[in-house]
């Protein structure tokens, strides 16, 4: 499966390995390996089917098709697709989990007021 090609989408291909802090103001598609932290406050992160992310993640929306290890905070929504393997706590306003997805961790649904209060 390949990521949709748009001008506002940055891609990390499946042969790419990154260690460190990632931040940006455009959507990000990760099909390679990332270790560290990812911060996309107003944008979305997609972990592709070959992607392996070991990081704390902060984004507006997060879609996981591959492997993600680390705590996740989404200001809007989290989607775990059927091939997702997620180990870590999820904090979000909305979540959808497909049948077959694996999650080891907490799911904490926060309302907008809680987000604003920084709870």
């Amino acid at each position: 499966m390949s990521a949709p090609l748009t001008s506002d989408l940055a891609q990390i291909g499946k042969s790419v390995v990154i260690k460190g802090e990632l931040s940006g103001s455009e959507d990000l598609y990760v099909d390679g390996q990332v270790e560290g932290s990812i911060s996309l406050k107003n944008n979305s992160l997609t972990v592709g089917p070959n992607g392996s992310v070991k990081a704390t993640v902060e984004a507006k929306g997060i879609v996981v098709q591959g492997k993600l290890e680390g705590n996740v905070q989404a200001s809007d929504r989290v989607e775990l697709r059927k091939s997702a393997v997620v180990t870590g706590d999820i904090s979000t306003q909305r979540i959808s989990i497909e049948e077959g997805a694996y999650l080891k961790g907490k799911v904490d649904i926060q309302g907008k007021s809680e987000k604003a209060a920084g709870k």
Binding site: S52, V85, T87, I97, A101, Y102, L103, K104, V107
Partner: protein
Amino acid sequence: MKLFRGSSGGADAATPPVAQKLTRRSSGLGELSRFWDSEMPMCVLDLGSTSPANIRFFTEGSHKIYSEDLLVASTEPSLVTKDEQGNVVLDSRQFLAENLVYPAAQFDVVLCWNLPDYLDESLVRPVMGRLWSILKPGGMLLAFFHTKDAGPDSPCYRFHIVGKDMLEMQRIVLKREARRGPTGAVHTAITEGFRLQRVFNNRHIETLFRDFASIKFFLARDNVREVLVVR
């Protein structure tokens, strides 16, 4: 306690069963539902397969849910070791170092489902001990046990909460593909499904939960006893 050992090599084992979804009323769940109807947000630990329905059920009620599939975790190949007699066992210390790692008295409710019946013998008591410690005093644990009429090929189900006292049971089907676990290891056991390891009688169940303050049995028609214990 009736123990089942070895693998079933019958023709049925080679044929992937059709995924079944059955519904059943659960008296134990009904008893528990009085807790999550209250205003107080609860902290719930679901030890079954990741269930979108269960996560939705609890998060819609403003409760916090933790999901941890212990049966899958118990298939981690690195857990295999030998005891003093040279028998192949699973390393319970390593298992508990990697799973159920929570502060003491964290949870109001633990949903154990049919875990004790399918978990490897070497892990059952250590896991129950850990569950006692992470439950709050007064916290409750729900577990299902097969009765003596169950055979070793009794299907292992996933449990989805679809109502206050109603469960949807989904048979864990045989899979042709091995699956990556959280450590990246390939869990080949998943491809064979899970086999019933033993059948507990009432006395064994009482012994298993002897550290808990109280125990309540609910008999069902489908050769399953529901057990609700309070720490």
